[in-house]
């Protein structure tokens, strides 16, 4: 039997809710909407959604505050925050409040459906949400996602902002093959006209800092013609 998953969309633009809700319903979800933070918190209690799509800029309390309050209450319902993608500051802020994913408006609604399904899959498998973890570690490598710093054998690495974001993305998706296009889309954000070589440059920077040998990788493996994979088993640090 296929379950019908419940999605709550929170946005202060009624015209947006009026078109997005029917779209998600047709995609097979049970959908509720809220126009502000207080209504959202009340709806979450009654409706018990499986995923929340939450705009940052909503009337008080704003999206971040809603997210923070839910996490403080021990509610770990996956949240997709509608905020600026690619901006490390914004990303760190959303992360600090415990968002699981983020998407920037205007977006392809098909992409939203794909992300909702991905979060549901992860929740079904009871996999830990790396997306909302502050610190991740694999062996001697530790990254702090809020302060955007990384350490290898307790020695801090001098990584550029982009290289850190690549490492962070790979560690959040351990053992998954990540294509160069996926990395460009997730990290460079705005329609950056890069070639895949741009990604390779950052991977080279990372390998140099991590003292990682591409022929016998300890951290980042090259999947020829496709992309990269973080080879370690990542853990969430306290």
């Amino acid at each position: 039997m296929t379950s019908i998953y419940k999605v709550l969309i929170v946005d202060d633009e009624k015209s947006f809710l009026d078109v997005l809700a029917p779209f998600l319903k047709r995609a097979g979800f049970l959908v509720e909407t809220a126009l502000d933070g207080n209504t959202a918190l009340a709806r979450i209690k009654q409706f018990e959604p499986d995923v929340i799509v939450l705009d940052v800029l909503i009337p008080e309390p704003d999206g971040r505050e809603v997210c923070r309050r839910l996490r403080a209450l021990g509610n770990w319902t996956p949240i997709i925050m509608l905020s600026q993608i690619g901006d490390p500051q914004e990303r760190a802020m959303s992360l600090g409040e415990g968002a699981d994913d983020y998407l920037n408006k205007p977006f392809d609604p098909g992409e939203l459906v794909a992300r909702i399904r991905a979060l549901l899959r992860r929740a079904r498998q009871f996999q830990p949400s790396f997306a909302s973890a502050h610190r991740l570690a694999f062996g001697p490598l530790v990254i702090d996602r809020l302060s955007r710093r990384a350490w290898l054998d307790k020695r801090e690495l001098a990584l550029s902002a982009k290289a850190f974001s690549v490492l962070e993305y790979l560690m959040c998706h351990p053992d998954q093959v990540i294509t160069r296009e996926q990395l460009l889309d997730a990290i460079w954000g705005w329609d950056y006209p890069a070639t895949t070589r741009t990604v390779d440059v950052r991977i080279a920077e990372l390998r140099k800092q991590l003292k990682d040998d591409s022929k016998a990788p300890r951290f980042i493996e090259t999947i020829i013609g496709v992309g990269y994979r973080f080879v370690g088993s990542v853990e969430v640090c306290a």
């Binding site: 947006f16 078109v19 408006k105 982009k162 460079w188 705005w190 006209p193 070639t195």
Partner: protein
């Protein structure tokens, strides 16, 4: 900072010269260097003291005047800088608000179109027209966001090999839809020494040169030639992006880097008038400068100068 220290130097010179001259004259008069002047010894000594006091007084006045003028100039420069910052901040806020106000209606359009595709077979001509219009607005919003982001972007400061970066940028442009067929050549001066690197943000520099090259492609036809020339003069690395397109009208040149400005020749060419504004912003973020020369009917050369490492 440089202006202020220049003014301070002027003030020191203006105040210091009368003081030094007065003191030197007084000392000369009191010395025995010119014995014939000592015929009226007492009077001469008194004259020396008088000269010394006068010179001290005059130099004091000169110092006070110089300080006052330096202070007024400094205050003026500060006020000008504050005014300019206020204007930039206001402009930045406007761009942010514009982007925010545009993105919600666009998101509604985008979801509505996807809904229509979901319910009915996609592909009719009207929906294709709506899709193109949405894509154009999407592009405009993204470019506005780039401009706004550049105001607060934390610039990476790493050595960048421009020759390698431009080669990569040329490949990226040639791979873009509708841009193939142009012959883009890269001419790098390598003798007697290799080209120096510049310090900066590789991704942003690539975006700037991509926009320039994409522009050159837009205004030329398949088979036309585009040249990218790199050279250095010991202090800066200079990149020319030259095309043999239709050129730009002289009256359009002063406004070319303004946001949303579109020249007469650009009316029927895709674009939104933000690409060159983004390029200028990126070049200025790198302490560089961009200029343009154009001859209608012959072509255009954009020249970017970046301080070399």
């Amino acid at each position: 900072m440089t202006m202020t220290s220049t003014r301070l130097r002027y003030a020191l010179v203006l105040g210091g010269i009368p003081s030094i001259l007065g003191l030197s004259l007084a000392l000369v008069l009191q010395s025995n260097i010119f014995p014939n002047l000592l015929l009226k010894g007492q009077i001469i000594i008194d004259l020396g003291t008088l000269m010394l006091l006068s010179s001290l007084m005059l130099s004091g006045i000169a110092w006070a005047g110089s300080f006052l003028s330096w202070y007024c100039l400094r205050r003026g420069a500060q006020a000008l800088a504050e005014e300019s910052k206020r204007h930039t901040d206001k402009h930045h806020r406007f761009i942010r608000r514009l982007e925010h106000e545009m993105k919600t209606p666009l998101a509604v359009l985008q979801v509505s179109l996807a809904s229509l595709d979901q319910q009915y077979c996609p592909g009719d001509q009207e929906r294709q027209a709506v899709r193109s219009a949405i894509a154009r607005l999407h592009r405009l919003i993204q470019d506005l966001r780039k401009l706004a982001d550049l105001e607060t972007y934390s610039l990476e400061q790493k050595p960048v090999d421009l020759a390698e970066l431009l080669q990569e940028t040329i490949s990226a442009v040639q791979d873009a839809p509708g841009r193939s067929g142009r012959s883009i050549s890269l001419i790098t001066s390598r003798i007697p020494w290799p080209l120096a690197s510049v310090k900066g943000d590789r991704d942003l520099l690539m975006l700037a040169f991509y926009n320039l090259l994409d522009n050159a492609c837009k205004f030329t036809h398949p088979g036309d030639a585009i040249e990218v020339r790199i050279r250095e003069d010991g202090t800066a690395v200079t990149v020319d992006v030259a095309d043999n397109g239709p050129g730009i009208a002289e009256e359009d040149l002063p406004y070319l880097f303004e946001e949303l400005y579109r020249g007469k020749n650009a009316r029927n060419i895709e674009g939104n008038g933000l690409g060159l504004a983004v390029v200028k912003k990126i070049v200025e973020c790198h302490d560089g400068r961009i200029t343009v020369r154009s001859r209608p009917g012959q072509g255009t050369v954009f020249t970017v100068q970046l301080p070399q490492l």
